[in-house]
Symmetry: C2
Subunit: 215 residues, 2 copies
């Protein structure tokens, strides 16, 4: 422990994005351990669970502070809380979903979001047939109301679950409406301004990665 050091931890731009990307995985695993009633763990145990080295976990966490105790390890509920704060999921974020097809339905019906910091607050579709349908507890709205509703809901995150042909158009509209974080399920790399963050989910990318090794 170094006490008289410059107070520069958690300057966002200094922490590698790849480290940030692992924190949610740590959090997910810690929550699982907590749900089993476990009180403490070590970087070694966590690493074995996750298939990564204990040194990596310690170094990752060290970017944000000192959360462990020598000889003992990490208090699980405490570390969970710290990671939730770091990731800003000690609140629940409103997420808007575009696309009320079967994928949109699956996403809207999934009830594992809320406990991890997210709530699907509205669903939009272009298809007049779908507007008014109930999906879970929400009613599908016309995409025309998107901009206004995003402001009302103070939503910062959107999910695109529309066919690939519509995805770029929907993204443009979302960005115009003030959304700066998009999770895209359509199999396309979106063209967006530099200040918009897009992440992608495409199962075929994973399949093709696997088949390389299946020779």
């Amino acid at each position: 422990m170094r006490s008289t050091k410059a107070p520069v931890k958690r300057i966002k731009s200094e922490i590698p994005d790849i480290v940030i990307g692992r924190l949610p995985v740590y959090l997910r695993t810690l929550n699982l351990l907590a749900s089993e009633g476990r009180e403490v763990t070590s970087s070694q145990e966590l690493g074995e669970h996750l298939g990564i080295s204990s040194a990596q976990i310690r170094k990752d966490l060290s970017h944000f502070g000192e959360f462990g105790k020598q000889g003992t390890g990490y208090n699980i509920p405490y570390l969970c809380k710290q990671l939730q704060k770091i990731l800003n999921v000690d609140k629940v974020w409103s997420v808007v979903l575009v696309g009320a097809g079967s994928l949109g339905n699956a996403i809207a019906n999934y009830n594992g979001f809320e406990s991890r910091g997210f709530r699907i607050s509205a669903i939009f579709d272009e298809d007049p047939q779908k507007i008014g349908n109930e999906v879970g507890t929400i009613v599908v709205e016309s995409i025309n109301g998107l901009a206004e509703r995003i402001k009302e809901l103070d939503a910062h995150i959107a999910v695109i679950a529309v066919p690939v042909q519509a995805a770029q158009r929907v993204a443009d509209y979302l960005i115009e409406s003030g959304i700066a974080s998009i999770l895209c399920y359509a199999p396309i790399t979106l063209s967006v301004p530099a200040n918009v963050r897009v992440e992608y989910i495409d199962p075929v990318i994973h399949f093709q990665h696997m088949t390389y090794y299946l020779g």
Copy 2:
């Protein structure tokens, strides 16, 4: 071009996994360009589409051969074919899906797999209520027949789309049945032998990565 060099290209273990992971993205984009009738492209154009450097694309491809022409760039249909061969998606792979809930339904109904090398060949569920249901064109089968059907179908890839509580159990059963590549939609890190490859899709991991930057 070096002609009198040791004939050591495409030794799998020498090519970084991170490179393999990008090839499906290149392929996806090239197919899009091809569908627009484009015949040639350059590493620079491709890089601009994808938000990565042209040098990276050239270096990635160079692991596998020389696919471009100086001054011209890459022939799109040719490069698509080459990437398909490299990734072993110049055939269609049978994939088995476990879980016939709304996510399983969405996956089974998606019709973008076949053109990219995959087909959902069977769906399994534990719930007797669901067995016999039709999902798209397939009938939900009892998970008890999994091992036998995997052999019949010569399936090497499985998708886990069951609740998190069942995921590890299902994975164990799949592995026992001979599956060595799993795409897991349940929010848990599976414990598997070293020869089994698992990839994960968990939207919350992406959301939490985003909220870090949303401060």
